[in-house]
Symmetry: C2
Subunit: 272 residues, 2 copies
């Protein structure tokens, strides 16, 4: 990674052939597409698999069952306190893979860009994806970029799909819960949702609530080592804690009792 | 598959709780999301992995290197002569996986739906995906559905990511071409692009040009058996034949001479 770009994002690639916004031709598969990929995408995710620019990545996986997940991210605004659509898209899929007990290894990235999107904003988001992938220990090995007419998408959408390998002996499932099990939360709830909403709705709070987007692969590995009897893991997103517990209860045919005061919520998040 | 829905698409699921178009709440992760998945998606792609509704699918792959590809489909109009965004999305990724010489096995599907999309149209497209996946011998094992505000996307976008396994001894690459190699085309060019454009631009032709969207996994297996010295395969999409040959020439540092009369184009496609 000696030729990796500045992690602080202080250096930006030069504008493409005089453009400082995304053009329709950037998605048409011709010369301008190649320039976009060469100048803005490849320097971020440099690895031998992606560099081949084949229409698919081919690699050998370590032994074990394969975990495969996908998620499309459509958040507005694209940048919010504590993160942006880039690290959200990397962490979201890394975590969905990790929740099976798998070690996340490889990601695909599918970008849908709106004509007119500032290239400087795209660069910030790609930089954020690069840092998130690096922190999570995953490689972006294949991708796709489409450009849609102005007004046809909300700035940009990002799909990430991820592959990981589940160690032998690990079998987590929402259907495995048994009476007597305890529910553990790894942190306060609702911070991400409230951080996004605070910007979207133009709300202002005395204390800025930050998204807690983060990759949880390391936490999962530690959990599996400390608690080999673990039944199921979930990274709650849309629907939050309530939807997750409902899905668990439904899949395992159990009831789950939640004690109101035992669910950690930051004071400022609760106030918001 | 005895409980699979009618492949002719003659039976449609009942509208959701009185809705006949996609609502924002269908993407919010709550009750209406669950109803959309249960009533419209799961009956199409019924398999044990998807039915678990975990945030990831976990499976064992046969031995061999893994091929992984992604593509987001943003075609307008969503339906066109010879196909729709659904079979296009399945075939496109199946083919990108197959072009490595791999046997395509598993797909993810990420839907971005625009508020107000008719559910009957969504059902036709999902039915088309189901038939395409069945024809290609792949299973849709994990997915994601988002709904965006009216005007935020062009009806629907579909991301598919695919996983396949490359048999030992097969190593195809755009960088493998050598002087003296021949270029083979599997059919006429430009039919798909012209079929889409004919509808988009309101053009009408005496003879309807049909998209030639199809899964090519079987063709690839036959090719590998008949021509073990095969260097590289590509399923040309955006940019067409010219871009593909340019990418091959660039990756292999060779020149490619194309004889104009030797490129097969249907008369009506050429006229259009």
């Amino acid at each position: 990674m000696s030729d990796a770009p500045d992690f602080d994002g202080l250096s930006c690639p030069a504008p493409l052939a005089g453009h400082d916004t995304v053009q329709l031709a950037h998605g048409a598969g011709g010369r301008l597409s190649a320039e976009l990929i060469d100048a803005h995408v490849l320097p971020r995710f440099r690895n031998d698999l992606l560099a081949k620019l084949e229409d698919q990545a081919v690699f050998t996986l370590p032994p074990g069952r394969v975990a495969f997940s996908t998620d499309t991210f459509v958040v507005t605004p694209l940048e919010f306190p504590g993160g942006d659509i880039g690290d959200l898209a990397v962490n979201g899929t890394v975590n969905d893979v990790a929740m099976s007990g798998a070690r996340p290894l490889y990601l695909s990235v599918g970008l849908v860009l709106e004509e007119g999107l500032p290239l400087a904003l795209l660069d910030r988001i790609l930089g954020s994806m690069e840092r998130a992938a690096h922190a999570a220990g995953v490689s972006v090995v294949t991708g796709d970029t489409k450009v849609v007419d102005r007004g046809s998408c909300d700035g940009m959408f990002v799909n990430t799909s991820g592959i990981g390998v589940v160690p032998d002996g690990v079998a987590l499932s929402a259907a495995s819960l048994r009476p007597g099990d305890a529910v553990l939360l790894s942190g306060t709830i609702a911070d991400h949702g409230m951080a996004v909403m605070s910007v979207r709705e133009g709300l202002s709070f005395r204390s800025t609530i930050q998204s807690d987007t983060a990759a949880l692969g390391g936490l999962v590995a530690d959990l599996l080592a400390a608690a080999p009897g673990l039944r199921a893991l979930r990274d709650p997103t849309r629907g939050g804690l309530a939807t997750t517990l409902n899905e668990f209860a439904h899949a395992s045919r159990v009831g789950i009792r939640v004690e109101d005061g035992a669910v950690p919520v930051r004071d400022d998040t609760a106030a918001a």
